[in-house]
Amino acid sequence: MIKVQGLTKRYARTVAVDDISFEVQKGQIVGFLGPNGAGKTTTMRVLTCFLPPTAGTAQVAGFDVLEQPLEVKRRIGYLPEAPPLYPEMEVREYLTFVGKLKGIPKSDLSRRVAEVCERCAIGDYRDKLISKLSRGYRQRVGLAQAIIHNPDVLILDEPTAGLDPKQIIETRQLIKGLAGDHTIILSTHILSEVEQTCQHVIIINQGKLAAPPDTVENLTRRLRGAESVAVEIETRDGVPDAAAAQRRLEQVAGVSRVIPKESRDGRLLFEVESLQGRPVRGELARAVVEAGWSLNELRPVALSLEKIFLELTASEQQGGQGGAQ
């Protein structure tokens, strides 16, 4: 549905996007993940024909953004980071205006407006001035605007930024609900959002892909490498002390590293990393019990996307700095 090849966007002095290639299949929800200023918005703006690429090509539904921008625009719904609203308009008036702009035939217009109002749960606010709406409802009107012409591709730039937790959950559910009919690209710098809403993830940093596009599970599995286990030991009268406990855990076969996390209220918490493919939980439990200590907790730690992300971007940065110095 979306095909990007060697996309580069250069501004006067900076390179915002540097030689990015990826593909998105029909019906997927793809998370576009990266820190602020990574080039997410720029890539999205190229896809929506707002900006022309400096080099490379981008195709949406088989149409090139430079060659046939009108065809591309017809098939895209776009919610920029700040919803493009006219505060002096009423919600229904605004949606009707956008619908006309997107080329919805007059006969379908009021039906479509009613449909998106219902879908985005803004039916009760139909006759309100947009300037009187709260941030969350403005975001919903922005989303309604993006889906009004039932586009094949939906591009959402940080759709949950600036919302309160309840609104974030509602917006995510709304996006998930749209998934079947539309191909969705959403950008975010919040990792849990990708984990919760997206099937695929594209990680971008400093204008480059930090990892090849992949499913969220694959990426987690591939980068996990070693298993990581959290161990909590209870102490009685200061026995064992942290150093002794750490030494004992390190002796367990298959353990590569023991990281002391915290110790308080007579509890010692360690994170134990094992060598790849060596299950160590049983050995750890036996070691602790045999030493006569009481084991409070033993649980595998899933390597969060957060960690993966930090790892990927950190190595990237080291490489970049090395080159610059």
Partner: protein, 255 residues
């Protein structure tokens, strides 16, 4: 065509949905009302005097009231037009709604035309206020209506040309104040260009003077419809709209 109409309706509504439209109309109504009062007062005064001097025939209302008034309106226009055009693009750029327009299946030219047509229609509404005052002249001694019609056509053409310029300047900035200030300065320059012929008669002075929008309005005020002036205004409108479309395009490349 439908897209132009969509943009046009939205913009025209925008003038009346915000205070800008009403302020501009009020501003114009007050100033024109004052000019109208002074012009008629002088006319009445002078008619009395000429009757006392023993000249029997009445003075020409078209020449003594309407022509100077129309020249005044064209000058008031220079002040009104920046207020009308300042928001057209600058506001959309500031609020980010320009992204909606530019990512919708609409051509740049359609956006520009819709906006300019709305501005011109609104300016026509403003001019209509002055027609309300002129109705009184028809009650008390009918002037010739044909020169008045020509004068209004001239005002509309002159306005359209300055509005196109203002639209262009508004597309260059995201700050409405700068857009208004720039448009006002440009309008003022185009007005005073005619002064150079007062001290220079060389060919460049005549070219500069020819660019003055006021030189081309004078025949209209007299009730003269000259194709030379009509073509001047039409080509100026075309140039302004062309530049605006180009400026929108460059927005994509610079952004």
């Amino acid at each position: 065509m439908r897209n132009i109409l969509t943009i046009y309706r939205k913009e025209l509504k925008g003038y009346f949905a915000s205070w800008v439209g009403y302020v501009v109309i009020a501003f114009f109504a007050v100033i024109f009302g004052y000019f109208f009062y002074v012009a008629t007062a002088i006319f009445v005064n002078q008619s009395f005097q000429s009757q006392m001097m023993g000249r029997g025939f009445p003075m020409d209302m078209n020449e003594w009231v309407i022509r100077p008034l129309m020249m005044n309106v064209s000058v008031i226009g220079l002040f009104v037009i920046p207020m009308i055009t300042m928001r057209l693009f600058a506001e959309e750029k500031r609020s980010g709604t320009i992204e909606l327009l530019m990512t919708s299946p609409v051509r740049d030219l359609e956006i520009v035309l819709g906006k300019w047509l709305a501005a011109t229609t609104f300016y026509a509404c403003v001019l209509l206020i002055s027609a309300l005052d002129l109705i009184f002249l028809f009650v008390y001694g009918p002037p010739d209506w044909k020169p008045i019609l020509v004068a209004y056509l001239g005002l509309l053409l002159q306005g359209g040309c300055l509005l196109a310029l203002g639209t262009f300047i508004s597309s260059l900035t995201r700050n409405q104040i700068i857009a208004a200030g720039g448009t006002f300065a440009a309008c003022l320059l185009l007005w005073v260009f005619e002064w150079v012929t007062a001290y220079e008669t060389s060919s460049w002075a005549r070219v500069v003077s020819y660019l003055s929008v006021l030189t081309h309005f004078e025949p209209f005020a007299k009730g003269l419809l000259d194709s030379k002036d009509v073509i001047f205004y039409l080509s100026a409108i075309f140039l302004g709209l062309f530049l605006t479309t180009r400026s929108m395009e460059s927005l994509r490349w610079r952004a």
